[in-house]
């Protein structure tokens, strides 16, 4: 199947050719991303966007495809989450205005960079944002894992300190049961929207920020973020679709694997401890950050900013692919391992109860 050409100011973007091999890779990538997203409760874009880039999809097309994929998933999942009563509609409405501003800014910046610096410049920008975001997150999770038990509540004290910051207008959110400054809500909304529009990952910042900065309960933060994901996904995907960046073939191929993986990953969470979830999260996110770091020299060479030899850039590019898929593969294997161990222990316990007559 031929790759379609999209004319853009100063550049001609070519979508990736879909061969049976590429289709299989996309479905596999969707499965890994879906399983990890179901397991750690995020959108999975942190693995799917770089994964598509390593398959040769331009960064901007990977981000827009991912936003369309996230939008469809959020719409379907929203009904179930709304029934659980985890959405603070007032908070959602306040945040969504600033979130859409953030998305708009990100789409404008991404398209501007693509138009002026081309595919390599766009890939470089997206990769740098990924490296900063993912390495910061991996370090934060690792610190949380290895921090002594008795010192594990600084987030609460941070939220308490922030709730004392009295910059009007102050708003009370009933479902979340917090009273915070609108300026903080605006800042978090803008940051979440900008990240969603730039790399397709928004909840990674939005949910922790709502919990640690605004002091919102975890379930309400997760529910409200899902509500916001519909708007950020719709707005971002629509803006990119208007400029011909959304490749529907890639979205559909991602769904083939992601919706299966999502269900399996979500089920696995019932069989593991919180520490195991965090450990998988740290490994996969950390490896994804390293992978994008390896990819940067090639983009710098393509932009003629540095002069690495072709051998070195090819080697680093290969290392980026191996690290990304290796990290995701290790994460998936860890989850499958946890499921098998749980099932085995469950079977032994059942057999023991049967033999003792309990």
């Amino acid at each position: 199947m031929a790759g379609e050409t999209v004319n853009l100011v100063g550049e001609v973007m070519k979508f990736v050719d879909i061969t049976p091999g590429t289709a299989l890779c996309m479905a596999g990538l969707g499965f890994m991303g879906g399983m990890l997203s179901g397991f750690i409760g995020s959108g999975g874009a942190f693995i799917m966007t770089p994964g598509m880039m390593s398959l040769g999809v331009p960064g901007i097309a990977a981000v827009s495809t991912n936003l369309a994929h996230k939008f469809g998933k959020a719409i379907v999942g929203a009904r179930k989450h709304a029934k659980m009563g985890n959405v603070d509609a007032r908070l959602g409405v306040c945040m969504v205005i600033f979130l859409l501003l953030g998305v708009q800014l990100a789409v404008y910046l991404n398209e501007y960079i693509f138009a002026t610096l081309g595919k390599a410049g766009s890939n470089l920008y997206i990769s740098i944002v990924f490296v900063i975001l993912l390495s910061g997150l991996a370090l934060f999770i690792l610190r949380d894992i290895f921090r002594p038990q008795e010192r594990k509540t600084p987030s609460q004290s941070l939220a308490e300190k922030i709730s004392r910051v009295n910059i009007p207008p102050m708003i009370y959110f009933k479902v979340a049961n917090v009273r915070v400054s609108l300026w903080l809500v605006a800042l978090i909304g803008m940051a979440t929207g900008w990240l969603a529009g730039t790399v397709g990952v928004g909840g990674f910042i939005g949910v922790p920020a709502m919990i640690y900065v605004l002091g919102i309960p975890t379930m309400v933060a997760a529910g409200t973020e899902l509500f916001l994901a519909i708007f950020s996904g719709a707005s971002g995907a629509f803006q990119y679709a208007l400029n011909g960046f959304v490749d529907i073939r890639l979205v559909l191929l991602l769904y083939v694997g992601s919706l299966v993986g999502l269900q399996i990953g979500a089920n696995a969470t019932k069989m593991v401890s919180e520490l195991q979830v965090k450990f998988v999260m740290a490994v996969v996110i950390g490896m994804s950050a390293v992978s994008r770091g390896f990819a940067i020299p090639k983009y710098l060479s393509d932009l003629q900013v540095t002069s690495f030899s072709t051998g070195i850039t090819s080697l680093l590019d290969g290392a980026a692919t191996v690290t990304l898929y290796g990290g995701a593969g290790i994460g998936v294997l860890m989850i499958i391992g946890y499921i098998i161990r749980y099932k085995r222990e469950h079977r032994v316990t059942a057999r023991y109860s049967q033999s003792t007559g309990h």
Partner: protein, 76 residues
């Protein structure tokens, strides 16, 4: 333990059939569809997102029902 009712086999087959049908229709007509979707106008962009929602609903329901039937149901 769980209050949820399992979906019927017919419902699962129907969703699977519809999802596979939708995928085949899209991929066999991708050249013409992409010409429309990539024409950089509001209606094609809305149609593209509509197609994504439909596929997510059909395939998502099919997979969710299928996994429920084999005892792997989840809240997603």
């Amino acid at each position: 333990m769980c209050g949820k009712t399992k979906p019927s086999l017919w419902q699962t087959i129907l969703f699977l059939f519809l999802a596979i049908g939708a995928y085949l229709v899209i991929f066999f007509n991708i050249e013409q569809l992409n010409q429309f979707y990539l024409s950089k106008a509001v209606i094609p962009a809305v149609c593209l997102l509509g197609t994504v929602i439909c596929i997510a609903f059909l395939y998502g329901s099919a997979i969710s029902n299928l996994l429920s039937l084999v005892g792997l149901e989840s809240d997603h």
